[in-house]
């Protein structure tokens, strides 16, 4: 197993509908938990990457304010943004900072306080999430993009609203027992199927919701990891891909091309295949997104993703358990924090710290983190000794 760069600390704040505190305080909650994993006397963080979607931030260039509050100065810091995949991109950059020898310990701090915007302001930003020159003038929304994917997947493969609903039902079962999740109520098939239509064929419970939250991942060189933790989780594979914002330029509507490309690159770097992954976190911003992610990550063949959820193969105890922390659908989706929260979940699985949702003996885990409706994807494959 490749042992170049390790994850040595992970933490997150609870995710909230409305957190009632300052962004810097929210970030401190995530940082505090991450630092519990580390022998404080023996480590100095020598760099940090602050990840958020700036369009939701009130503070201009928030990195300095946040690292000041966390006490990680004067180590170099900067802001990084790839929409919803910002903090997975942060982990990719941290890996290269460490592998290059420039840094030994780097903190990736992801956050978003979405409640700071009015719903009017949030809807205005959503409208600009498309290609502003050619497509936003028609009135685009994030849910509608995935509604389009669902329409194509249903037409091509016969995927049904019931199969989409099963994804939300699974999410709610694990969300109920995640004390960091926003939504902690069990949701039935009927609840999902009878909920209000948002954008066809997606209903209210097919969609994740905005949230406030922060999540932190601390990475270290192999040499440093040995000194500060006895449970290093190694970065084995990193894959990334970027594609057109304009939907007209999209290569497929039954899959998310960036996801497929990023997963393939990550598997190649890790030298393992999808059949060796024991547990995964995928970007379930919408129920259809999880089904397509099963296919894009190679857990199912194209068109067979829905069967995995029908057969409960992505539940704990199934062939490939997915989103055992409730995923975005239950946790909520504070854009910049989501990737780091997913990486935290898999790191804890590989350390055997996931309690009721622990996959026994998990050795390899995968994180699939999408940016926008298919602009970016960053896939991270992790493994333990």
């Amino acid at each position: 197993m490749k042992k170049d760069v390790a994850i040595v600390g992970v933490g997150q704040s609870p995710f909230y509908r409305k957190c009632g505190m300052a962004v810097r305080e929210l970030c401190f909650m995530g940082f505090q938990e991450a630092m519990k994993d580390i022998d404080l006397k023996r480590v100095q963080i020598d760099g940090s990457i602050v990840c958020s979607a700036a369009e939701y931030d009130k503070q201009r260039s928030p990195a300095s304010v946040i690292v000041d509050y966390l006490g990680i100065m004067p180590a170099p810091s900067f802001n990084l943004e790839t929409l919803c995949s910002s903090s997975s991109t942060g982990v990719r950059v941290a890996y290269s900072l460490i592998k290059s020898g420039l840094h030994e310990v780097v903190a990736v701090i992801g956050f978003q306080k979405m409640s700071e915007l009015t719903s009017h302001e949030a809807a205005e930003r959503m409208g600009r999430g498309g290609d502003i020159q050619w497509e936003s003038p028609f009135g685009v929304t994030m849910p509608a993009y995935f509604g389009m994917v669902a329409s194509a997947h249903m037409a091509e493969y016969g995927t049904t609203p019931e199969q989409l609903a099963r994804v939300r039902v699974k999410s709610s079962i694990y969300g109920e027992i995640n004390d960091k999740a926003v939504y902690r109520k069990k949701i039935s098939m009927e609840d999902v199927l009878n909920s209000e239509m948002v954008t066809s064929p997606l209903k209210k419970f097919d969609c994740c919701a905005n949230a406030d939250g922060a999540a932190v991942v601390i990475l270290a060189s192999a040499e440093m990891a040995e000194r500060i933790t006895d449970k290093p989780v190694w970065i084995l594979g990193l894959g990334g891909s970027t594609r057109s914002t304009a939907l007209a330029g999209r290569l497929s509507f039954t899959s998310v091309p960036v996801s497929r490309e990023a997963a393939q690159a990550a598997y190649e770097m890790a030298g393992i295949g999808p059949e060796e992954i024991d547990v995964a976190e995928v970007h379930d911003c919408f129920t259809i997104a999880e089904i397509v992610a099963y296919e894009d990550c190679g857990f199912a063949r194209p068109g067979e993703g829905a069967r995995l959820i029908d057969e409960k193969q992505t539940y704990l105890g199934g062939r490939i358990p997915v989103n055992l922390d409730g995923g975005l659908l239950s946790k909520g989706h504070p854009i910049g924090a989501t990737g780091a929260s997913q990486i935290r979940a898999i790191t804890r699985q590989l350390r055997g710290e996931s309690g009721k949702t622990q996959v026994e003996g998990a050795k390899f885990g995968l994180v699939h983190n999408l940016g926008g409706p298919g602009l970016y994807n960053y896939v991270t494959i992790l493994g333990r000794d």
């Binding site: 936003s136 009135g139 329409s151 304009a246």
Partner: protein, 137 residues
């Protein structure tokens, strides 16, 4: 200047491709073809990312497209609140080029099916604005 007249809500006014809008106002749906390598783009591009040239010809899109994906939006973003419901869609032309737009409200939502043939029709919008939509072939 001028491109702010494209679509229901415009977010940018300046582009070298402003002729696209002028053609729409004349009732023609046009796009660009690279004069050097022949690559056809939609949306139009005034610079070719395949061969690097910046000389293009405007060509008319008059073929029918096949519906690839669609969604009927019930909650629009800011500026579109009074437009809902409307259906956004991508169609694929015989040459493989795809076009994003709205399906005409004249087509009942229940009649919309992936794979159906649609034509692209330039339309006028209030406030001297112009756009295009997909209609029955």
């Amino acid at each position: 200047m001028g491109f702010e007249k494209f679509g229901v809500v415009s977010f940018t006014s300046e582009t070298k491709a402003v002729e696209f809008l002028k053609f729409l106002e004349e009732g023609k749906m046009m796009t660009t073809e690279c004069r050097k390598c022949g690559k056809i783009y939609f949306p139009p591009k005034m610079d070719c990312s395949v061969c690097g040239a910046s000389e293009v010809d405007w060509i008319e899109i008059d073929e029918l497209g096949e519906l690839v994906a669609y969604s009927t939006v019930m909650h629009g973003p800011t500026g579109f609140e009074n437009d809902v419901p409307y259906t956004i869609a991508v169609i694929r032309l015989p040459n493989g080029v795809q076009v994003f737009g709205r399906i005409s409200n004249n087509i009942p939502v229940d009649n919309i099916k992936v794979g159906m043939k649609l034509k692209i029709v330039p339309i006028k919008l209030p406030l001297d604005k112009a756009s295009y939509e997909f209609m029955h072939a």
